[in-house]
Symmetry: C2
Subunit: 473 residues, 2 copies
């Protein structure tokens, strides 16, 4: 991929489109929320409004040898939406229409720029539910959720974005014909095995195989009744991890099972004054949504498991306002910690039985590198988000955080885990991914990328890129 | 792919393996249960006992230019396991060990030859459940289930094989290095987005991308309590289809919602004398497994929906033996019909709201072509199995059935559906798949196949093969 095309050539090739060239706006569209991930300078950005406009842009970029970097709300945490040098940033956030809600088939068809919570609200009016709920749901788009296969709180019981994507429209190139061809992948039916699962392959591919311009999603009937909440306070992270393992072993299936450590609780309390107790070393929050008496039984069983694992208290919250405040604290933990300085976000996922060990190693790595690490976790999934917080402008602290970051990746893989549970590889996890998968599987990944994008036009350098490269050209 | 390698070369290259060459045994290993799908004559078969033996066989076949056709129990219905001319059939049914059941992480690791029901029984001893339940579960293997992304009765609520495959070991070639390389794809954790979803891509790929030699599966806690059964009898197939649509629209979530028509009921009754009433034109069977009173409420709601849609009776079965007999009848429908003559099996899947229309068009096509069609269906999924039954040895009836078969595929696609919900493309659905996906998406499929299997060694001609070809070489 060369990046020599001057802006006038691109503008001439896209007469119907307004290209963004203002340096400040371009800079704001050049990176996501990943701390310290390298970003190049785009030649321009295009705020696409239709599939036709995306098709024209991709075709023009292919002709001119300009890379295409798609983006939604830019809430990613791995650098997957960061601009490459000389690229066209394709901002899809204005393709934000819910095109169809099909009550008879429990299906929604949406443009990629629809915000997750807006979709939830739209389908709720029809008595339906779109479960995936990343903490970024108030801001992040379905297109971005698809690009990273976003998870969230309720995926413990209800699965991740992948489990709700039936079909896609994507603008692709390579074997499908000229770059700029729009294809429909997947299906609209509940089941289907007609050919390789290309729709599934595009989910989590971070815009490296094409530009997703429409998504067909599976919905569920809206849940009935009010879910119960159980809170447990623990004197150590490791004890909380043991409680998670015990819930799994006892066959309990909470809809969410979240962990916050003291640093997270304090940061949220200092910012928002929600009145949550921040004196425990670790808090576990469980949400139980089995209907009727079964839900009550399950809530009691979870509280008992918390106590048996050593909680100094564990109670079912009978106050809906209090319960909501606790989950709100969970959602606010990340922005609350960001107020304290640059945050480098881990997203390791380990087998559930290894959660206590991973938490112990995290504490040990934090102490050894002298790095402040706060941990929030989808603990029931084994998906941990140690957050490495550095004082602004402190180069030495930054270097220590980056060393600790890589070491956490190594530990997660050593425990049988993965370097990324739901945030994606982007730029930050490329080295970790290579160590996790090994050279043979990485070679298969690269062969797939080449087969569907022989020009290397789509989001080059991400996922399968060389981790030694900085801002990829 | 040439197929000229003589048997002695293959035997010399595999000194530790017993090659099957007896013509009768070879013939029995040369096809699956797909009626009239073409099959070639293999040069030999190998009943592999280890990954090492599979690796050696694949490497030898690559050297000699011999195609590799993997197979399990041979219960497939699309010809995906049929031999190609001069191939080595790689029978994996003796790699049948459950390697690990991990209660702490709800994971099982199995060899591909483990029979589905055997796995269910093994994990049940640990209080765990492996949900996917194709009607072939007493015979079909997990490897075959993975190859076709098998569904079944309970996937309405619990998903298909794909939803339970976390990771795979596969013997591959191409970009991973020399043919015969074993790689681990996917993960063991509940979530993970480290690179493209290769494990997901292999599920449903019918052995065309490599040979799966180990599968890591997600399990659920065993269900508690006894599920309820609701039976509804209808005066027409279309009325039963309307009842299915009504259940969906009312937000009901049965664990299974199955349809049998009169022909199926009679064939089972004549064979097994289960004492089921075979006088209705269509029977719907619903299984409800919500725990406690919620399950009772749901059962009543399903019975009400059946009545509102025009059932001439609909009752909750209070007799567990009777309920089991009804589901047993569902499972026996296919073998019961096979007793009557060669059965050509459809596997179309349409949006749920289109079930009544698809059933009506099926009846119309049967009448127009003079073909006897019995229908069983995972109706709640929109996945219909019209079974085309012909008198043995009647060439004219066979031609009519084949015409009706293709016409049913066309109608399913016209209704927004797919040509295969859970049986796979194999040989029989290649033409239908091409019409469904269109040339651009088929070109992407072929590019993927070439990128991971540049020699065209693995199960050539299946899925992405030329539908005009007979027994592929």
């Amino acid at each position: 991929m060369t990046t020599a095309a001057p802006l006038p050539s691109l503008a001439a090739a896209l007469p119907g489109s307004d290209l963004v060239t203002d340096p400040d706006v371009l800079a704001s569209l050049s990176c996501d929320d990943a701390e310290w991930a390298p970003a190049g300078r785009p030649v321009a950005a295009l705020r696409a409004r239709s599939t036709a406009e995306v098709r024209a842009a991709v075709a023009a970029c292919a002709d001119l040898g300009v890379a295409v970097v798609p983006r939604g709300a830019g809430t990613g945490l791995s650098g997957g939406a960061n601009a490459t040098e000389g690229c066209l940033v394709l901002d899809l956030s204005r393709m934000d229409r819910v095109l169809e809600i099909d009550e008879e088939n429990l299906v929604a068809v949406v443009q990629p720029g629809v915000v997750n919570n807006d979709l939830k609200a739209a389908v709720a009016e029809h008595g339906l539910w779109y479960p995936p709920d990343p903490a970024s749901a108030p801001w992040s788009t379905i297109g971005g959720n698809v690009a990273t296969n976003a998870g969230g709180l309720c995926c413990l019981k209800y699965g991740v974005t992948r489990d709700y994507v039936l079909g896609l429209e994507a603008v692709v190139g390579g074997p499908a014909g000229a770059y700029g061809t729009a294809v429909r992948l997947g299906r609209r039916t509940t089941k289907g095995v007609s050919g390789y699962d290309l729709a599934g392959l595009f989910v989590g591919s971070e815009g490296t195989l094409g530009v997703v311009t429409e998504v067909t999603l599976r919905l569920l009937p809206a849940p009935r009744g009010v879910p119960g909440t159980v809170v447990g306070a623990f004197d150590s992270l490791v004890a909380a991890g043991r409680a998670v393992a015990l819930c799994t072993r006892r066959g309990l299936r909470p809809a969410a099972l979240e962990l916050l450590d003291r640093a997270c609780l304090q940061a949220v309390e200092e910012w928002k004054h929600l009145g949550i107790g921040a004196e425990a070393d670790a808090l576990l929050l469980a949400r139980l949504d089995a209907p009727g008496p079964a839900g009550d039984e399950e809530a009691e069983a979870v509280a008992a498991a918390f106590r048996d694992a050593g909680a100094h208290w564990a109670e079912r919250s009978t106050d809906a306002v209090e319960a909501e405040a606790l989950f709100e604290a969970r959602r606010l933990a990340y922005p609350a910690l960001e107020r304290l300085g640059p945050v480098l976000t881990e997203d390791v996922c380990v087998p559930r039985s290894a959660v206590p060990a991973m938490l112990a190693r995290t504490e040990e790595i934090a102490a050894r590198h002298g790095v402040r690490i706060a941990t929030i976790a989808h603990a029931g999934d084994g998906n941990l988000h140690p957050l490495l917080i550095t004082p602004p402008g402190d180069g030495r602290a930054r270097a220590a955080a980056q060393s600790a970051f890589e070491e956490l990746l190594v530990e997660a893989v050593a425990l049988g885990g993965t370097v990324t549970g739901e945030h994606g590889v982007g730029l930050l996890k490329r080295g970790g991914m290579r160590r996790e998968l090994g050279p043979e599987v990485c070679a298969m990944q690269e062969a797939l990328k080449r087969s569907l994008d022989p020009l290397g036009l789509f989001n080059p350098g991400k996922v399968v890129g060389d981790p030694a490269a900085g801002a990829p050209a």
